[in-house]
């Protein structure tokens, strides 16, 4: 005899497998997945495979491409290849947790408001007010005042990007709450939390996941910008934005030094966007099939 709830995990797995298969079936999805996977892998193993110590300075500063330094050296004689490989670790260590926290709190607040709360109007106007502030300026201010430590940057990022998630989650929830199956659950007398977890979330998760991927790519750009301005990561920790800032001073002498970190940022962001697009399409196919059948 089948237990009712027991199939659920298996079904989710099947669905996940379908989505992955779809993403990998189209070129843009394949490219996106490959770029993101390569970056994640590199972030994990780069300290082991980097040819030089990222902080090790040498007398050979601002060298071009050579057999010893494949991508040359920077103004302090540090190996650009090693620093580029390791450079995403700080960024990802901050933006991934921040994206997760943003999705969680923004999603929770959005669902709560979307179900029709008295606070809805007030809270959403506040959210809009915060969104209206140019976030990079605000981040700069916070970081300048409180120092650019992880303990400051993660909550700040999570707060700002969570506001956007709130909007998406609230809009989605409002749409779902008007659907008859949610009305039916309310009329039946289901507990509100049960309605959220059984009726709303399974239908909203897709949107939030796709949205979360996009938020992550925004956060990466924002963090690199902070570092570029000298507020994100403190030297000698390698970080792409900071590397670009350093190389900027010597563009006339060593024009190639800025290229590797720039390419790294671009490839990661493009990869994330392609991936999130493909996941969105994969899930969209799902909804079209449901409607058409």
């Amino acid at each position: 005899m089948t237990a009712l709830a027991a199939d659920a995990p298996a079904r989710r797995q099947r669905r996940a497998a379908q989505v992955i298969a779809y993403v990998l079936s189209r070129p843009s999805g394949r490219v996106g997945a490959a770029l993101v996977a390569a970056h994640l892998l590199m972030a994990l193993v780069s300290p082991l495979i980097a040819p030089y110590d990222v902080a090790a300075q040498s007398a050979d500063s601002l060298q071009g491409i050579s057999a010893a330094h494949w991508l040359g050296t920077d103004q302090l004689g540090r190996d650009v290849l090693s620093r580029t490989l390791v450079g995403s670790r700080v960024t990802l260590a901050i933006t991934i947790p921040a994206a997760i926290i943003a999705t969680l709190w923004g999603g929770a607040l959005g669902i709560y408001l979307g179900l029709g709360s008295k606070l809805d109007e007030i809270v959403m106007r506040l959210v809009d007010a915060f969104i209206a502030i140019p976030s990079l300026l605000f981040l700069l201010l916070v970081v300048a005042v409180f120092q650019g430590t992880t303990a400051v940057i993660i909550p700040t990022f999570a707060f700002f990007y969570g506001l956007l998630v709130t909007h998406v989650a609230r809009a989605g929830t409002r749409q779902l709450a008007a659907q008859d199956f949610v009305v039916a659950a309310r009329l039946r007398g289901d507990h509100p939390l049960r309605i959220v977890f059984r009726e709303i979330l399974p239908n909203l998760a897709d949107t939030i996941i796709v949205d979360g991927t996009l938020r992550l790519s925004w956060m990466i750009v924002a963090f690199c910008s902070l570092s570029f301005l000298g507020l994100g990561v403190q030297p000698p920790t390698p970080e792409w934005g900071q590397m670009i800032a350093d190389a900027r001073g010597y563009l006339t002498v060593a024009p190639l030094a800025a290229v590797p970190p720039c390419l790294a940022i671009v490839s990661l962001i493009v990869g994330l966007n392609l991936l999130s697009d493909a996941i969105g399409k994969a899930l969209g196919i799902d909804t079209i099939r449901q409607r058409g059948a």
Binding site: M1, T2, D7, A184, L187, G189
Partner: protein, 607 residues
């Protein structure tokens, strides 16, 4: 007059070309001819391919859809030949009126300007001549005060007036053929009738041929000389309307016609069980055979269209002769005098929304209801009829506790129904269940049928263990005539009628005394409506459940109700036993509603 037909369709197949599954035709080898000035109807249920055919006649295919074979000749032009010629014909010699007129009108242009544009493109009149012509046309469309309408924007007109304008714009190019896709489905019964009459009049005067595409036999039955019935992408029968409707030869046509409830002939019409095949299904034999009650061995061979006994064409090896069998109306049991719900003087007046909701536009007006009296007995069905905006749905929402009544009383089994939902005891929620109009939105797409029906069981009967729940769900599915194989399916894998039966099963699982049915058959095809009614009636017989059955479809209400309440503008204008209200209506509004209801019995009598 030219002797050649106006439109000639030869062996036309249109569908999807897939890499892995070959060609998947949506319409298959359609042969059709339309003469000049003729009116012809194409009837079919959702998924029959009728809209695809209508589009293809104009040389138009949806993205991804291709012409697989065949030709469409309009006035000897190949509609799939020269794109420039086809584009010129469209909007000129062939005009199209969509289901929703609002989408055919440009929202940012006044009605006058839209007519002017159409005339500029399709006539050689100068500015002042056009102005006169426009006023004349608007008068022809029987729009009140044409001079005022000229300066209005589409959103300032009612749905019926918009549809009139869309028809007028279609006529502006002096077309030889107008294709009408469900032209009146979105409109009220009375408006429907007047628009169809208008169309017929205009077409006759100008000699325009009309092609109606509809799921509604009433619309085509009253307005078309000739009829083609489509099923699963094929024309299964065609012939003269009166003859076809009074003595259909194809089992599907017979079933379809038989499943329409009649006002004269109360009781639930025989249901057609099952559902049409999906386009991806490969069927070598007759495409209707798995639903056909008269299936024989030879039906595994695909039938060609042959001459039908009534002089039309029919795609069946064993066409039937004579009028469709008389329906076996299910007699309604007398109900006990045991009130379950009592409503006295119940009113819900439009509440002025607060400042915030006005600012945000969140406060949506609900039609008010006033002084409603109802008494629902055990095992009884009260039918509530009225047009849109009459307050039918508001009444249900008040009973459900979603709106707080402004005055009056409502009780159910000792519970006060004025109590808002949040404060209602669980037992009251269990006893009063609801089934909604739209089966697609009433089932969670991420839950299996098993989970959906188990939800109320878990909530209301906490002592049931997993096994007991599973057994009960199976039992309930059988009551709504869905087998165990549906347990693990998702709503997306079910047809509309099946979904609606699952929604009924979910309500039934609560073992309620009363089920409120809000237009439960309106979103369904005719052939499956009867199945839903049958299920509701069976449940009532077995459990003594009472229904409040709200619908704008009078014949459906007639089929299932003991007692009728007619609502107009929020007030009860007439109430009484079903036989009395339908047999001898007293109020003018009821008479008007009855007059505009299509009844297959009328056609049979006329023929």
């Amino acid at each position: 007059m030219n002797a050649s037909p106006l439109l000639q369709v030869r062996s036309l197949s249109v569908g999807l070309r897939t890499r892995d599954r070959g060609d998947l035709p949506i319409i298959r080898k359609i042969d059709l001819e339309i003469s000049r000035g003729e009116s012809i109807g194409i009837v079919g249920e959702s998924g029959s391919g009728k809209s695809t055919l209508a589009m293809a006649l104009m040389g138009f295919l949806k993205p991804g859809v291709e012409r697989l074979e065949g030709t469409v000749l309009f006035d000897r032009h190949d509609m799939f030949g020269n794109d420039a010629v086809t584009a010129k014909l469209r909007g000129g010699a062939i005009a199209y009126v969509p289901q929703n007129a609002a989408t055919a009108l440009t929202p940012t242009m006044t009605i006058g300007n839209q007519f002017d544009e159409a005339l500029r493109l399709h006539s050689s009149l100068d500015v002042s001549e056009r102005r006169g012509a426009i006023l004349e046309m608007l008068a022809d469309l029987r729009l009140p005060d044409p001079k005022a309408v000229v300066g209005r924007y589409p959103h300032e007109l009612s749905g019926g007036q918009q549809q009139r304008c869309a028809i007028g714009l279609a006529m502006a190019g002096q077309p030889k053929l107008i294709v009408l896709d469900e032209p009146t489905t979105a409109l009220d019964t009375a408006t429907q009738a007047s628009i169809l009459e208008l169309l017929a009049g205009l077409a006759e005067r100008t000699g325009t041929a009309l092609l109606y595409v509809s799921h509604n036999l009433g619309v085509v039955g009253d307005n078309c000389g000739r009829l083609a019935v489509m099923y699963a992408g094929e024309i299964v029968e065609e012939g003269m309307t009166q003859r076809l409707l009074s003595a259909p030869s194809h089992p599907y046509s017979r079933g379809l016609l038989g499943s329409i409830p009649s006002l004269r002939d109360p009781g639930i019409p025989p249901a057609m069980w099952g559902s049409p095949p999906a386009i991806s299904e490969h069927i070598t034999g007759c495409r209707f055979s798995d639903r056909c009650p008269k299936r024989r061995d030879r039906c595994s061979e695909h039938p060609m269209i042959g001459r039908s006994p009534i002089g039309g064409g029919v795609r069946c090896h064993f066409p039937e002769v004579g009028p469709a069998a008389a329906r076996v109306g299910t007699e309604r049991r007398p109900t006990r005098d045991e009130p379950v719900v009592t409503v006295r003087g119940l009113s819900f007046l439009y509440a002025r929304p607060g400042l915030l909701s006005r600012l945000t536009g969140a406060g949506k007006a609900q039609p008010a209801i006033q002084d409603i009296d109802l008494e629902l007995n055990a095992g009884q069905t009260i039918g509530v009829i009225g047009e849109s905006g009459s307050g039918k749905s508001t009444l249900l929402r008040v009973l459900l506790g979603l709106h707080r009544p402004s005055s009056g009383e409502a009780t159910m089994l000792g519970h006060d129904l004025r109590v808002p939902l949040a404060r209602r005891p669980l037992d009251l929620k269990r006893q009063l269940q609801v089934v909604f109009q739209n089966p697609s939105s009433s089932l969670n797409p991420r839950q299996t049928i098993l989970e959906i029906i188990a939800s109320p069981l878990r909530l209301y009967f906490r002592d049931l263990d997993q096994d007991a729940i599973y057994r009960r769900v199976k039992g309930i599915l059988e009551q709504v005539r869905l087998g165990t194989r549906y347990l693990d399916r998702y709503p997306s894998q079910l047809s509309g009628g099946e979904k609606q039966r699952v929604a009924i099963a979910r309500a039934l699982a609560a073992e309620p005394r009363v089920i409120l049915c809000d237009e439960v058959t309106s979103a369904l095809d005719v052939s499956v409506q009867a199945a839903v009614l049958q299920v509701l009636s069976d449940i009532q017989k077995e459990h003594g459940t009472s229904y409040v059955f709200v619908s704008h479809d009078l014949a459906t209400v007639r089929a299932i109700s003991d007692h009728i309440v007619v609502l107009s503008r929020g007030r009860i204008v007439e109430a009484g036993p079903a036989n009395r209200v339908f047999g001898a209506p007293e109020h003018d509004y009821t008479k008007m509603l009855l007059e505009h209801t299509f009844d297959p019995a009328d056609i049979a009598v006329a023929a």
